[in-house]
Symmetry: none
Subunit: 231 residues, 2 copies
DNA sequence: TTCATAGTTCGATGATAGCCGAAGCATCGA
DNA sequence: TCGATGCTTCGGCTATCATCGAACTATGAA
């Protein structure tokens, strides 16, 4: 029949409203879980699962398994470009939509991911640790350096050697929900969060079920001194 | 639930195989009649009429009445750009039909993409510019180096500083339809193409609506001297 | 171990939309 | 005026596919 790559299959994937909602939700660059994408699209998890499988088969998104979660991200910047181009055309044609409420900013700033710190500050902490050469990271594997051990002992009174666990690594990179980068998990990540709580630098929000972590004023200051964004 | 323009309606238009065939047939830049498009898509005129009405309502194509014929063309170069982007994604995902890109070899060799050079030679030019360190490219962003500015001034009498534009970047990577790689777009891409025309190195094909670019013998030689494939 | 949560698979249902035959306009040439 | 051609509208048929309930797997928590 015709020559050339089969555009229509790809376009049809974007053409379904539910799938399109998922893709636009991913345009921020963040990786989202299957359930989050289901809610974003306003459909049940079963339906979402089917859609995600199709999008993956079409090469538009890529999965990353993380525990029992499955994070999805756009597989390539070109995909976002095409979506933007479509937005431009749609905008010109006057097909607009209604607006939605943004996510909880506090949740994005600092929250608990299982038992360790996540969000803006979590990502910032791991970034800073890399910059200060407290850890070496290659892909998912993170290792505490000698300097890192000293730092933990002196600044946070954490004995890294005591954190070994039969079934859990000391350091682990965990994909962040709001940022799309990694923060520190593992027994060290948990120990650091525990220490923050003990020192009253931070506390989990009182609201039952909330994952928000509130930093005290001095806590935020001390945190910045150890893991400041710049320098 | 989402903000922004409604992509999915537009994408759904492209998502139908029959409509998609029509759109790709229009990508050459020529305007085609309704019956020609029907034949191109392999459907009856009635069905084609319905599709064309939808594409027009979606702002993808524009009609031009001429006697009892109704010519359709892509309403905007942006539409062709999005289609090319989709081709790239589809090609990467391995959803090929028979072969890539346009059938016409001349169209594959050198053609106009909006206002800049595309096809074999377009891709070759950007490759060569990267090799000669005339530009720096990181993903989609391209930047002209100091050496690149000198090169443009000396070899092509183009003042790169005069090319800044409020709504258009000087350099931009544009995914090529036939080659699946990038060629140079932006005001610089347009200026270079203009210069080629002025120097009579190349000229757009005389056939109305054709996107083919014909290089003269000396033009091809000069082009090779500046942007040769090897070296 | 047992329970809870995240995600998937399966099957049935229902709505959407592509398709074509037939008929209806519109334009051209004679 | 007539007939021919290009294109559109209408109506009914059909196939596709998104959707969800229910049941199943896998991972983590107690």
């Amino acid at each position: 029949m015709k020559a050339g790559p089969d555009i229509s299959r790809i376009a049809a994937l974007v053409g379904d409203p539910a799938r399109c909602n998922m893709l636009t939700a991913l345009m921020t660059g963040r990786a989202l879980t299957a359930s989050e994408l289901a809610q974003e699209a306003g459909i049940t998890p079963q339906t979402a699962s089917s859609h995600l499988a199709k999008l993956e088969a079409g090469g538009l998104i890529e999965p990353e398994k993380q525990g029992r979660h499955r994070y999805y991200r756009l597989s390539d910047p070109d995909v976002a470009d095409v979506l933007e181009g479509l937005q431009g055309i749609a905008a010109r044609a006057g097909h607009m939509r209604v607006r939605t409420g943004p996510k909880d900013p506090a949740l994005r700033h600092a929250r608990i991911c299982y038992d360790h710190l996540a969000g803006d500050l979590g990502v910032q902490m791991l970034d800073s640790m890399r910059r200060q050469k407290l850890v070496r990271q290659s892909k998912q594997a993170i290792e505490l350096t000698g300097e890192g051990k000293r730092f933990m002992a002196e600044e946070l009174q954490i004995d890294a050697d005591a954190l070994t666990h039969p079934r859990r690594p000391v350091c682990k990179a965990c994909l962040d929900w709001s940022e799309r980068r990694h923060h520190l998990a593992g027994t060290l990540g948990a120990a650091v969060m525990d220490r923050f709580t003990e020192l009253k630098w931070a506390a989990r929000d009182a609201t039952p079920g909330s994952r928000v972590v509130n930093f005290s004023r001095t806590g935020e200051k001390r945190f910045a001194a150890l893991f400041g964004a710049d320098e």
